[in-house]
């Protein structure tokens, strides 16, 4: 993890634990700072990881600084609605569509949120812990 002190100075209220920077309440500010700060310049979003903890969901943004060759993880904990970061990283669009498809997390601010992998008329979000496939239309497949 790179120069933690710069991040600590700017965001004293955010907790850094287990190698992750928790940004549940100010994700947009944190990501735009990490991208635009000249000493850090995390200019690449590698991936967004979603985890279903039954009572809440967690998103982990993996960022890479191509100048410093350093990476950082930023985490967000929320229920079912998250803020879209497509305005900061354009490549987040497909990640957000995939997470919406498989976890059902709605991203407010995403320009065109739709299913990426499954058919558009699919019922439910398969990677959720409480998902059961009981679609009447697919009875022929049993």
């Amino acid at each position: 993890m790179p120069d933690i002190n710069i991040i600590r100075e700017h965001f004293p209220n955010n907790i850094i634990e287990a190698g992750k920077l928790d940004a549940s309440f100010n994700i947009i500010e944190v990501l735009s700072f990490l991208k635009n700060c000249p000493e850090l310049s995390f200019d690449m979003l590698l991936s967004i990881i979603a985890i279903d903890y039954i009572h809440y969901n967690e998103l982990i943004y993996c960022l890479l600084s191509t100048h410093l060759n350093e990476s950082i993880k930023v985490s967000v904990k929320m229920k079912n609605e998250a803020k879209s970061v497509t305005a900061i990283y354009k490549s987040a669009y497909f990640d957000e569509c995939e997470i919406y498809d498989l976890f059902g997390i709605k991203f407010t601010g995403n320009p065109n949120l739709k299913r990426l992998l499954l058919p558009q008329s699919w019922a439910g979000h398969p990677l959720k812990k409480d998902y059961i496939l009981n679609d009447e239309r697919l009875k022929w497949n049993e």
Partner: protein
């Protein structure tokens, strides 16, 4: 009259069975074995099936090589319906025969448990994935079937294995 009809059947079947042009339809790892079977060390041309067509309108045989998901199933059905008669289907690999390692209800939500639920299948080739020799065994069995068949028996076979599904909202549903 009987003699003439059998003779026409014989000539037609001889021609058909030795020039089964497959459709290029590979959805996963079985496709690699299918590609291998066209190379000179295996040489699918010995059976007259080396001309892989990119268009279903020119193909006689659908070698379904690979897992079929619910999103891919409408494409498979449409390609099958676009092929002109006489057309034959080989289900290649465990996934197309019965779902393979995705077949238990807890394992996969997205995989079709065997393409025989969608299409009439002539030859099943299990194994994961089948070697080119196994594919040739399937093609030889199909050739033997074609040489035995008559116009009426084929109609009977297709009548018994009607397509009962239809695409709606991006997934296949019962009619």
């Amino acid at each position: 009259m009987g003699i003439i009809v059998t003779t026409i059947d014989y000539v037609l079947n001889w021609g058909r069975s030795n020039s089964i042009w497959p459709l290029t339809f590979a959805t996963s790892c079985c496709g690699i074995e299918m590609i291998c079977s066209t190379t000179s060390s295996f040489d699918i041309a010995r059976f007259g099936s080396e001309v892989f067509r990119a268009s279903p309108r020119q193909a006689d045989l659908l070698i379904c090589a690979g897992t079929i998901t619910h999103k891919m199933a409408p494409v498979l059905l449409r390609l099958y319906q676009q092929m002109p008669e006489p057309k034959y289907v080989i289900a290649m690999g465990a996934c197309t025969c019965g779902g393979g390692m995705f077949s238990t209800p807890e394992d996969s939500y997205a995989v079709v448990r065997g393409i025989d639920k969608i299409l009439p299948v002539d030859i099943f080739i299990p194994m994961c994935p089948p070697k080119p020799e196994a594919l040739f065994d399937g093609i030889i069995k199909l050739q033997k079937n074609i040489r035995k068949e008559s116009i009426l028996t084929r109609k009977q076979f297709l009548g018994n294995h009607k397509v009962k599904l239809k695409e709606k909202d991006g997934i296949l549903q019962e009619l």
